[in-house]
């Protein structure tokens, strides 16, 4: 049964949704986007209003990224989790913007660190305005986010955000210190993924739970939900880097290996392929010429042969399942269904 979820008369009753609760997820992702469309638009408008720097350059650069159609996973999570707790006020909209600011700040700095040329299918900000402006506007967005957050006068919100930022930045340094090392373990890789992506997604869910005034146990469940979902999201992203249609992904195929980033599919490949091939790949990565088109094709073919892509996607799915177990504790509702759908989408999207 496919339920058409739109606001107003097409909205199914909760009873009709729960009747069919044998099917784990009742909504499609398109339905989730449609159902929460107005909330997402409100969050986007609030984000734009919050930006509002007196310095034109700040607005220009930040808008370039903020309005370039990212996946909006974080604002959606914030809205869904706060609604799961029965919250209907406007703080989720404001906090969605806060999290997007922090995320955008990390993207601006990441692109400088990685010498990136493309971001979300557009030229990276550093390419258009230079590294200096990207660094400073990143700093501005971090501090603007903190200002917005403190305006809620909620110590727990401030503490959650500050701790998330600390761990994220620590993860970025860890990644830099391991960059290009072929000796990292799957455990190291997952730790980096946790710090650089999952921590902020986890904090997003915790913030939703805080403003939803949930009890400690439920806050912890949602924090864990976000953490596992965040790991799944990044592992899927890293895997799609080797398979996705470059145009849809908004970046070129094999971007990570070209930047010296050793992610899960490559780690699996190096562990499972014949030693002679492993030696060749290691030489390619360490070569000053960088990864050429032919090298990449050979690596992609080997990954298919060795099952590295399916291994990585399976790992991502494991994390999604672990995330979902944390939702068992909540009574069924549209927002819970939407969270389950979103969790599956994290690994089933093709870009």
């Amino acid at each position: 049964m496919r339920i058409v979820l739109t606001k107003g008369r097409h909205l199914p009753t909760m009873a009709s949704m729960l009747e069919s609760s044998k099917i784990q997820t009742l909504m499609t992702m398109a339905e989730v986007w449609r159902f929460y469309h107005d909330d997402l638009v409100a969050a986007e408008q609030q984000t734009k209003r919050s930006l509002d720097s007196k310095t034109h350059l700040v607005n220009e650069i930040a808008e370039h990224l903020l309005l370039s159609g990212g996946k909006r996973i974080r604002p959606l999570l914030m809205i869904l989790v706060s609604k799961l707790g029965g919250y209907s006020g406007s703080e989720s909209t404001l906090l969605a913007g806060v999290v997007e600011f922090i995320h955008t700040a990390t993207l601006l700095h990441d692109d400088v660190i990685d010498n990136a040329e493309i971001r979300r299918g557009k030229r990276a900000a550093r390419f258009l305005w230079g590294n200096k402006a990207s660094i400073l506007v990143g700093d501005y967005l971090y501090s603007r986010a903190m200002c917005q957050a403190v305006s809620l006068n909620n110590l727990e919100v401030n503490a959650t955000l500050a701790e998330a930022c600390r761990r994220m930045t620590e993860g970025e340094v860890l990644q830099l210190s391991l960059n290009g090392s072929l000796k990292i373990s799957e455990e190291d890789y997952l730790r980096i993924v946790e710090y650089k992506t999952a921590i902020l997604i986890s904090a997003t869910c915790r913030l939703g739970a805080i403003i939803g005034d949930m009890n400690h146990s439920n806050k912890d469940h949602l924090t864990a939900f976000g953490l596992h979902l965040g790991i799944a999201f990044q592992v899927a992203d890293d895997t799609l880097d080797y398979v996705a249609d470059g145009e849809k992904l908004g970046k070129s195929l094999g971007k990570d290996i070209r930047e010296g980033k050793i992610t899960l599919p490559l780690l699996h490949l190096l562990k499972t392929c014949p030693q002679s091939e492993r030696f060749k790949i290691e030489q390619m990565i360490q070569s000053e010429k960088g990864i050429l088109e032919d090298d990449l094709e050979m690596i992609l073919n080997l990954m298919k042969e060795c099952g590295s892509i399916s291994y990585s996607m399976d790992r991502a799915r494991d994390f999604v399942e672990r995330a979902k177990t944390n939702l068992h504790h909540f009574p069924d509702s549209v927002s819970r269904q939407a969270l389950l759908t979103l969790a599956d989408y994290i690994v089933d999207r093709d870009y």
Copy 2:
């Protein structure tokens, strides 16, 4: 009368200090450093403990700057202002570290932005560990500062810091967008100085007043004291860049003009020197070769002739006087005397 201020039996009674209150400042700066030596050491130790990242690279880079003997103006201000309010707890020590972290983060990012090679007489962090590490460790220090601050569970502290960071980063972007422009006015220049330096010094004083539990009016006086003192500090710094002994200053003479920064002495020179000289200087600044040694010597000589150095130092002194008027509202005390001495030192130091 010169009072020897050391802890214990040499400490003069308040009465004896106030007797000689005709002399505006009773302490020398050396006495201030000595008198508050233990508090400053406690602040430094707390800063080191707060750093404590699990990632070795973070500690290494941050310590390179934090322990390289900066002027420690901010920790001293934090201690003095909190004592002015009668505060004797340990929060001032923690917040002194917070402010030093934020300041150090801005230095790390500034050095990347400015392609700086020297900082505090040592090689800049970016020169030793690269731009990428400097950006990320800067981010780490920002977020670590916020974590430390939220641990005090004081909403006013969080709000003061977040707002200060927002305005500072906005100022940095403003400076970047005006960098190298010869058309900036003295007003523009002072606005940049306010944002990039005075805001954090002002916030330091406000934080001291907050934990000192002062009333609104006194908090505002100390915020204004810090703001004017901060402007004076930066104007003096910018002026010393053209006169100081390079070794003492920990940077090379004329560093600002070489980096395309138009500061007060140069603005004054361009306004007052003969048009033919002005034309020559503008060409030097805009030349792709940059400022050569001969160019610098000619500019320094012209500045002496036109009185640009004394004009700028007088402006700095004006701001010190404006700062000091904000202390009239407080009863006399050792910490008030020390603040007055520090205010004068800001412009009378030779490095």
